[in-house]
Amino acid sequence: MIPFFIFIICAALAVAGAIALIWAREPIHSALALILVMVALAVLYLLLGAPFITAVQIIVYAGAIMVLFVFVIMVLNFGLEERTNFSKLAIPGAILGLALMAEIAHWLWHASIGRALANGPAAQVAEASTRDLSEMLFSKYLFPFEATSILILIAVLGAWVLARKES
């Protein structure tokens, strides 16, 4: 029963954060709402039996990537978001967006895989241990692992090239 309450609270927080991201007038409030969404999702990962991913999400995503966003917002302090008039395509766009969301949600609700249970007495799978995850990362997914390390190197070089002054 406790997983049920935790799921309801965290799902409500995540959706509230996403709506606050859309509704907020200042970018810093949107950033704070996104951090709330990330922490709520981290707790949901814990419910789904992936404690390592919880820690990685909070350390990397909420604790480093969002800090970068918050820094940039603070440095480029251009004030309130302008409320311009909506374009002619705005209302049909919104309706189509909501229709997309409803259709994906409908088909996911009725997917046959959705009948598997995440928590409760019938769910007998142990949580994912870090040892198994790292063994898989270094054996089966070794090539993507090395490729992402090169990707990070490229990103660091790219950011440095873009940020240095033209001398």
């Binding site: 810093i28 409030h29 404690p51 390592f52 990685v56 909420a62 800090v67 820094f71 241990s129 870090t130």
Partner: protein
């Protein structure tokens, strides 16, 4: 009463959290007292002396002062971020202490829960790093939302410093984790059992790799992470007025203050668990060392004797009465700790507290002794010296594990 029988886990958890919260808040208050006294004595003067006997009621007086000060909010401040920042900082600082074990895991309540740790996670260290990495937001939001030059500069500098040194902090810890093979705090401590040279900092045992470099890197990065001298430029008085908490007053300032000391206690706890053997005693429980159970009691009785002598010879008036109360409390506590079942149970928290106090005294000693770094010196030190040294420590530990099969965590 049936509530206690039907929900034993919940009730035990609430009791542990309440006791731990009370102890931590008292410890925060008296840590400020310890800091002022220690710095004063290093600088050849007395610290607070008049408020209570030997200044022991000074934290109470400071707390009351903070409560009654006027709460000023700058008019153009961003309300959400301005109010959120101190609460966030304090909440994160206090919640990190919930993960830490203060004693052996085999002492249990009647319902099977551990007495000495609120929660025993399998990924304990990772969650602690997660909580400390979220602590950057308290500083950054405080600096920005005050809508003023000095706090903005102080906040940006402080958060840049914190995220830079966080990298070295986590890498210097990975050596210990490689040797132990687990993220769980209790198992990390269990790998260091024995004499004090079996602790991870020296690790002079069959199949151990000394982690002295890791320990020094960790301490340096921790001092920078908590914004203490010599890395406290972002909140230095002569440089930036008061840094990111310039525009805060009364209770919100008190919350930042408490959050800083709570962060200090958290990194000290982590240092003792990872490198100094946690709640283990320096001597194993064999032979003549079985009598070490009486050390806490003996220590408290010595303290009571010193306070008693002080009462009789030096104190006058109301201070004499307060010192007599302190003597009786210490004496009573000492006698309680001499009672054998309690003496056996108090061993874990006693050694843990002793080690934490040693590291906190080291922090305070550095504050009294060293000048502060300039900001560019600070950043180049963090990235150009500390990070390569931590990486070298990690590589050497990993090489030792691969090349000498005896160094294994199986």
């Amino acid at each position: 009463m049936e509530f206690i029988y039907q929900h034993p886990v919940l009730v035990a958890a609430i009791i542990k959290i309440a006791v731990l919260l009370f102890i931590v808040m008292t410890a925060l208050a008296y840590l400020t007292w310890l800091e002022r006294k220690a710095i004063a004595h290093i600088q050849s003067r007395w610290g607070p002396y008049n408020v209570g006997a030997h200044g022991l009621l000074q934290p109470l007086a400071d707390g009351i002062k903070f409560l009654f000060k006027e709460d000023v909010t700058p008019p153009a401040a961003d309300k959400v971020a301005y109010i959120l920042a101190p609460f966030l900082a304090l909440a994160l600082g206090l919640s990190a202490i919930a993960l830490i074990p203060f004693g052996p895991p085999d002492k249990l309540f009647p319902n099977g829960q551990q007495i000495y740790s609120v929660v025993d996670l399998n990924i304990g260290i990772l969650m602690l790093f997660a909580i400390t990495s979220l602590g950057v937001y308290g500083v950054a939001l405080a600096g920005w939302s005050s809508n003023s030059k000095y706090p903005l500069l102080g906040g940006l500098r402080s958060s840049a410093q914190m995220i830079s040194y966080e990298v070295s902090l986590t890498i210097s810890v990975v050596g210990v984790i490689l040797l132990a093979g687990t993220f769980n705090f209790n198992e990390l401590i269990a790998k260091q059992s024995g004499w004090f040279w079996h602790w991870n900092v020296l690790s002079i045992q069959h199949g151990g790799v000394p982690q002295i470099i890791g320990f020094l890197c960790y301490l340096t990065a921790a001092i920078a992470e908590t914004n203490r001298v010599p890395f406290d430029l972002p909140e230095a008085e002569t440089e930036l007025v008061a840094g990111f908490h310039t525009e805060y007053s009364s209770f919100k300032f008190a919350m930042f203050f408490m959050a800083e000391y709570a962060n200090m206690i958290t990194v000290s706890c982590l240092a003792t668990i990872l490198f100094l053997g946690g709640w283990l005693s320096p001597f194993p429980d064999t032979g003549i060392w079985h009598y070490q159970n009486f050390l806490p009691g003996a220590g408290l009785l010595l303290l009571a004797a010193y306070c008693g002598i002080n009462t009789i010879t030096e104190m006058r008036g109301i201070a004499r009465l307060q010192m007599a109360v302190v003597t009786m409390l210490a004496g009573g506590g000492g006698l309680i700790c001499l009672y054998p079942p309690i003496a056996a149970g108090i061993q874990g928290p006693f050694w843990f507290t002793t080690k934490i106090l040693a590291i906190l005294f080291f922090y305070i000693w550095m504050r009294a002794t060293l000048p502060r770094f300039r900001y560019d010196q600070l950043m180049s030190f963090g990235w150009k010296l500390l990070l390569p040294v931590s990486l070298a420590n990690l590589v050497l530990t990993a090489l030792a594990i691969i090349l000498w099969p005896v160094v294994t965590h199986a």
